[in-house]
């Protein structure tokens, strides 16, 4: 039998861990260095009396920021994947347009507006920003879950039924694993965007990495803004590169 040349799967190599590691080291380094970089920031804001954001420790702000994004991401992923799975089932097909529309609406609705509407109902603090992040982050996950599941070869699903798998087994063992790279791409987009968006929480009293930025804008202090923005950007890049590694590993197991 003539055999097609075998394409070796791009081998998994520890070197791929180097990038996220590098970004994480940089992130931690910057967070620890900020309080000691007086001269550098003085140069950015020559007129300011104080150039290092002092109201809270940056490690603390980073922790709170991660917490908000993490809680929002857990809710978004659960809701988004469940909704995506539901509308691709035989019985849930009728809900497909409705769910897509709600998810799109969530993203087109500006998070600032969500905050403005949520604060009167939920009060100041962390809850309104989590609500805003969940709504904002739902679309990429729902959309990619639907796309990923619809992309699964119908022949494979039909064969799975023919072999005597139950619908639950097909979903868990065939459809979700095959759709996983696409779903993960959606989660990656959602989480990365939300790391930046979470900074808005500072406007409603959710203390996080947005605090220095807001304080910087209010006091016309560029140094504060740069400090907050730098840490947020490094956090986003670090998390993004961790997702990159996961995606690579997933791709190793699916063609």
């Amino acid at each position: 039998m003539t055999s097609r040349p075998v394409h070796p799967r791009s081998a998994y190599h520890p070197i791929q861990l180097l990038w996220p590691l590098m970004w994480l080291v940089l992130l931690v380094g910057v967070v620890l260095m900020i309080p000691h970089a007086q001269t550098l920031f003085q140069w950015l804001a020559p007129d300011a009396r104080q150039v290092i954001y002092q109201r809270a420790d940056f490690t603390q702000l980073l922790g709170r920021h991660l917490m908000v994004v993490g809680v929002a991401a857990s809710i978004t992923i659960t809701l988004g994947v469940l909704a995506g799975v539901m509308v691709t089932r035989q019985w849930g097909r009728d809900f497909l347009p409705l769910v897509s529309q709600i998810a799109s609406l969530g993203q087109t609705f500006p998070p600032v507006a969500v905050l403005a509407l949520a604060v009167p109902a939920l009060g100041f603090g962390t809850i309104p920003i989590i609500v805003a992040l969940v709504l904002y982050g739902l679309l990429p996950i729902v959309r990619n879950t639907i796309a990923g599941l619809k992309d699964v070869d119908p022949g494979v699903v039909s064969a799975a039924y023919g072999m005597g798998m139950t619908p639950g087994q097909i979903l868990r063992q065939v459809e979700l694993p095959l759709a996983a790279p696409v779903i993960l791409a959606g989660i990656r987009t959602s989480v990365t965007i939300n790391i930046a968006t979470a900074a808005l929480g500072a406007t409603v009293g959710a203390s996080n990495l947005g605090d220095p930025i807001i304080a910087g804008i209010v006091n016309a202090n560029n140094a504060y803004i740069v400090q907050g923005a730098m840490v947020i950007a490094l956090l986003a890049v670090s998390i993004d590169s961790i997702f990159e590694v996961f995606q690579r590993r997933l791709r190793l197991h699916t063609p």
Binding site: M1, T2, S3, R4, V6, H7, R9, D153, G155, V156, S158, A159, A160, Y161, G162, M163, G164, M165, T166, Q169, V174, P177, L178, H253, T254, P255
Partner: protein, 321 residues
Amino acid sequence: MIELCNVSKFFDQTPAVEELTLSIPKGKFCALVGTSGCGKSTTLRMINRLLTHSSGEIELDGQSIDAYDPVLLRRRIGYVIQNTGLFPHWNVARNIGLVPRLLKWPTAQVNQRVEELMGLLGLPVSEFAHKYPHQLSGGQAQRVGVARALAADPDILLMDEPFGALDPITREKLQEMLMQLQARLHKTIVFVTHDMDEALRLADMLVVMRDGRIVQQGTPLSLLQKPTDSFVDSLLGGLERGLKQASLTRVKDHMAPLGPHLPAQSRVMTEQTLRQALSMMLRDHCEWLTVVDQHDVPVGELSLRKLVKEAFQAQEKSRDV
């Protein structure tokens, strides 16, 4: 034993299969043939309840398939489809072991069965067990597909144009493999194809369908000798029918004892087909061939005149029936 009795299937009022009655005895290889959209695949998919029949009765070994849980029913029936339907994220060994694992066989037994099947289908374990479907050629992938269908040793095998997507040489190899398997395993096979040569080659029993109904059924030879109408005749190859019939007949069934004359220049083996013998006669400009066994020892002779006469008699006979 598979029995379909007055089975119909409608898709939104449109009939796909109408009043189909068919009985496939245990251990027989039954080919469903016909043009596209004649209902042959629909018929197949009703047997493992991937489609639910609209009316009539389908029975396996005397028991209605409605009495089974569809999931459990399907685990007892092997199923092979054209594009293999292998799980792309599972390696070959895991794909083959699917149904035994669904049936909760102990791991050691599953592994042993997988190795056994890979041996049976000519897929060396060391070379293929850890490959993924996208690393296989079409023929290799379909061998895996057949192995997966046979994994839990089902009595029934449903094959939906399994070799339709393969190149002619690979297809012929897999047909050969399937014939050898069937000679050992004696499964009840329902095989859907639109390739009449494939059906004639493999089947014990041929069912010709058209517009959701059976036009004619019988052994390949009986259909070739006496097609019921012009549709079956054209499907069977029209003017080529004589040759197709010859390709189903072995030389040994028509040879005469060695005659008094010198051996002919051209030799044909007992196991070769009459079609091959005829082709040799045309090629070598001779009216008779010497028949040899596998050790190249002459055992008889084959004469064109006698063949023509016998074919005529066979036709006379079938006309009398």
